[in-house]
């Protein structure tokens, strides 16, 4: 029998309780999968005497993290307290004490990835984080291992289940944002303060983590352009629907600016052969850039991500060899997150995680010249240079010449138009008229310059609303 892997949990809320429950109730199953026992040695909590919904033997509970860090029979510390203050201190202390670390903390990785991973390399220990992005969906292993033969060229992710639940309710049941949020709160899908979920911050943290794996890119979360769903008007969901599109809050990363974010649908005989195209090799570009943003995006109804409903997460990944693959599942909650945390523990027990950590060299400086393995390291494309198609919705006075003025301003910036829909005015013929314009690919900077001039037109009643297109 091999030596047990000793585990300490720091934090025992929803996810920690799930991990403890798995380790205690399914010891035989997990030992079988890992080839050695996984043994829960310590559970560090603020108040050991507090009643819990998972039965944890009293002698495992402690309020002192030092007890876990000093215990030589603890080999792994699982950090589940969240945030970037105490959590960071615990992770650094655990590594310094010679423990491996498993964490579900995307904010910590996004803010302090370099510092943590440098500390791990110094201590010759590893950091695992499958649970940090998309809960039970194994996207970290997919990007880092399963797709390792590919250069990733685009990622489109529904990474915030709360927002997707709200958008689904708005689109399918015609609810307002406020009503849909209230229902999400009532059902436990949204917190009392939903800001980080609905303003795109949570998704931006996760995107920063995925972008590090796929592109080696050093994006701090505050460098990622973001737009939330909290100002979304049901009118735009309706207009998008009429045009054949669904609005989703997406975290997107894409290279090869101007060639489109993704391949088209292989179910459509006119748009086939996603597997046989020969794109230029993205790694041939000596200074490649990647565009990153979190925003409401218009997806065609037939797009795989347009069909993701409710609190699910889903990630569509485009690789230059494989084409498109999709990963979907529950993005939060006790079971899904615990499933990913324990997968990391099994990987550590088997010895895979140590190999992966060494090979992947995440959050590390680019290899020095002369070393074998120079990673291609992307830089973040400046927001104003990012190319996209745009949905633009205006409320304008119903007067002759309005459309001519607006399209002239777009043309002056070199932006061409894909489609225009002018909607009917209110019944009494007064009031502004909704006007929807979809553009072809344009640089964001030029589009915003045009927008400024459009908003200054006297016929434009309220500032224009715009969203990115998903293709």
């Amino acid at each position: 029998m091999s030596e047990p892997l000793g585990i300490a949990l720091v934090g025992c809320g929803t996810v920690g309780g799930g991990v403890a429950d798995l380790l205690l109730r399914h010891r035989d199953r997990l030992s079988s999968r890992a080839g050695r026992p996984l043994v829960l040695r310590r559970v560090v909590v603020r108040d050991p005497s507090k009643p819990r919904d998972v039965a944890i033997p009293r002698e495992l509970l402690t309020a002192d993290p030092g007890e876990a860090l000093r215990d030589p029979s603890v080999h792994v510390v699982v950090e589940l307290i969240g945030g970037t203050g105490a959590a960071k201190a615990i992770v650094l202390a655990a590594l310094a004490a010679g423990k491996h670390v498993v964490t579900a903390n995307k904010a910590l990785l996004a803010e302090a990835g370099y510092e943590l991973f440098e500390a791990a390399r110094r201590a010759e220990r590893v950091v695992c984080f499958e649970a940090a992005v998309a809960g039970g969906v194994p996207i970290i292993r997919a990007l880092g291992e399963s797709l390792a033969a590919n250069q990733i060229t685009a990622i489109q992710g529904i990474l915030n289940g709360t927002s997707n639940f709200i958008l689904t309710a708005m689109a399918e049941r015609g609810m307002t944002y406020a009503a849909a949020l209230a229902e999400a709160q009532r059902l436990g899908y949204a917190e009392a303060d939903p800001t980080l979920d609905v303003d795109g911050s949570d998704a931006a943290h996760k995107l920063a983590v995925l972008a590090q794996i796929a592109f080696g890119v050093a994006a701090r979360p505050d460098e990622i352009e973001r737009q939330g769903i909290d100002n979304l008007d049901p009118m735009d969901i309706r207009f998008a629907h009429e045009l054949g599109y669904t609005i989703k809050l997406l975290a997107e990363a894409w290279t090869g600016q101007g060639t489109g974010k993704r391949d088209r649908d292989p179910a459509d005989p006119d748009e086939r052969s996603p597997t046989d195209h020969r794109q230029p090799d993205p790694t041939d570009d000596p200074t490649p850039t990647v565009a990153l943003h979190v925003a409401p995006v218009l997806l065609r109804h037939t797009d795989l991500l347009a069909q993701v409903r409710g609190a699910y997460n889903a990630i569509l990944v485009h690789g230059d060899v494989v084409g498109e693959t999709l990963y979907q599942g529950p993005g939060a909650g006790r079971g899904p997150t615990a499933s990913s945390v324990v997968a990391d523990l099994i990987d550590l027990a088997v010895g895979r995680a140590q190999r992966t950590f060494a090979a992947a060299r995440l959050w590390s400086p680019p290899a020095r010249r002369g070393e074998l393995a120079t990673r291609t390291v992307y830089t973040v494309a400046p927001a104003e240079r990012v190319r996209s198609r745009f949905y633009l919705r205006l409320l304008v006075a119903d007067k002759p010449g309005v459309l001519a003025d607006i399209t002239r301003i777009l043309a002056d910036q070199g932006i061409s138009i894909s489609s225009v829909v002018q909607h009917e005015a209110a019944e009494d013929g007064t009031g502004p008229v909704p006007l929807v314009i979809v553009t072809h690919y344009a640089e964001t900077g030029r589009f915003k310059a045009a927008l400024g001039r459009i908003n200054a037109l006297p016929v434009v009643a309220v500032p224009a609303v715009f969203y990115s297109m998903g293709d």
Copy 2:
């Protein structure tokens, strides 16, 4: 710089050409990911002088597999010739010569898994096979590593892209089976002889491989019940559609007979909380069974798999901890399959594959008593004992008492009815009338007994058609 990993390809058709192309054109990228060079040493083909669409240096090509097996600088043999004859001999010879093996050959694994894996363990070498199921979709790693904390309770897979392309064309464009097959052949999605794709054999091989990983089950492909799509009548696609269902060719495995194959849709507020249910632990059952079949199955329009169109593959996996996760992508073709083969080569170079092979103990006898890690090993549920809901479509004479006779026969077998739709007769009022019955859960044996009696009724014009329901 670490020692290179030397690779020999046996077979250089569509997939082999893709692997060779990747290894030759993207050497830097792959070395970076693997931490050591991946070097193509030999390509074994029938005719080395034949022109190829991938430029392979002449000195690498040979018609003699022995050249690869005797070369001490070759560490891995990639078997891509297919079939179970010469391929099996090559794999066994490679292992005996001390080479690791990477294969995309699902038929070989399904037929001879025990023999190959026993030989690998004896030789202290490993067999990798990500490309054997669902092409570019990393379902082998998902089941074996990412979901290792779970007992899998159900798998539903669209594992044959040819069949799914045909079904999509029939459903969306109203084509007959023959016309859709002809289009698939014209577009290169179906072979001249499509038998193994459309009769379910190919999917059954893949299901046998997945069932070994998820359930440790020793199902020979000929033990897996299968029904193809080659007799599918457009009438049944239409009737299913009216009932709110889409017909897909699914490879299914499910435990916990009678509790339903899957959780319901978390986007629907009435059917929430997939993450918080506490099912009985399936590993508590001392003699657990798993039902396996390949068949056209009726899925609700809103089911994730119902929305998989065209030549895609997709697998929905239910784990007792994580709930449902979905994996989707291209199931065949040069790029997708090469992507998975090279992912295995990188895993070998990194050292992960060796750890995984030892821990997973696939195709091995159950652990001896007294060993730590007793795997839960399922047996295949006898086909007649498998419980499912059924769609039953009859063509009956339009006479009084017909429905009473049929429902009486079902009731005699203890089968209750979920819904009945009697369709209109032909315009002239003669000819048989379509009658569709959907049942609740019933044992297949009892359902088939009832079917025999129903078909014997004088009012039943042609033998009844039946399909399984997906929930």
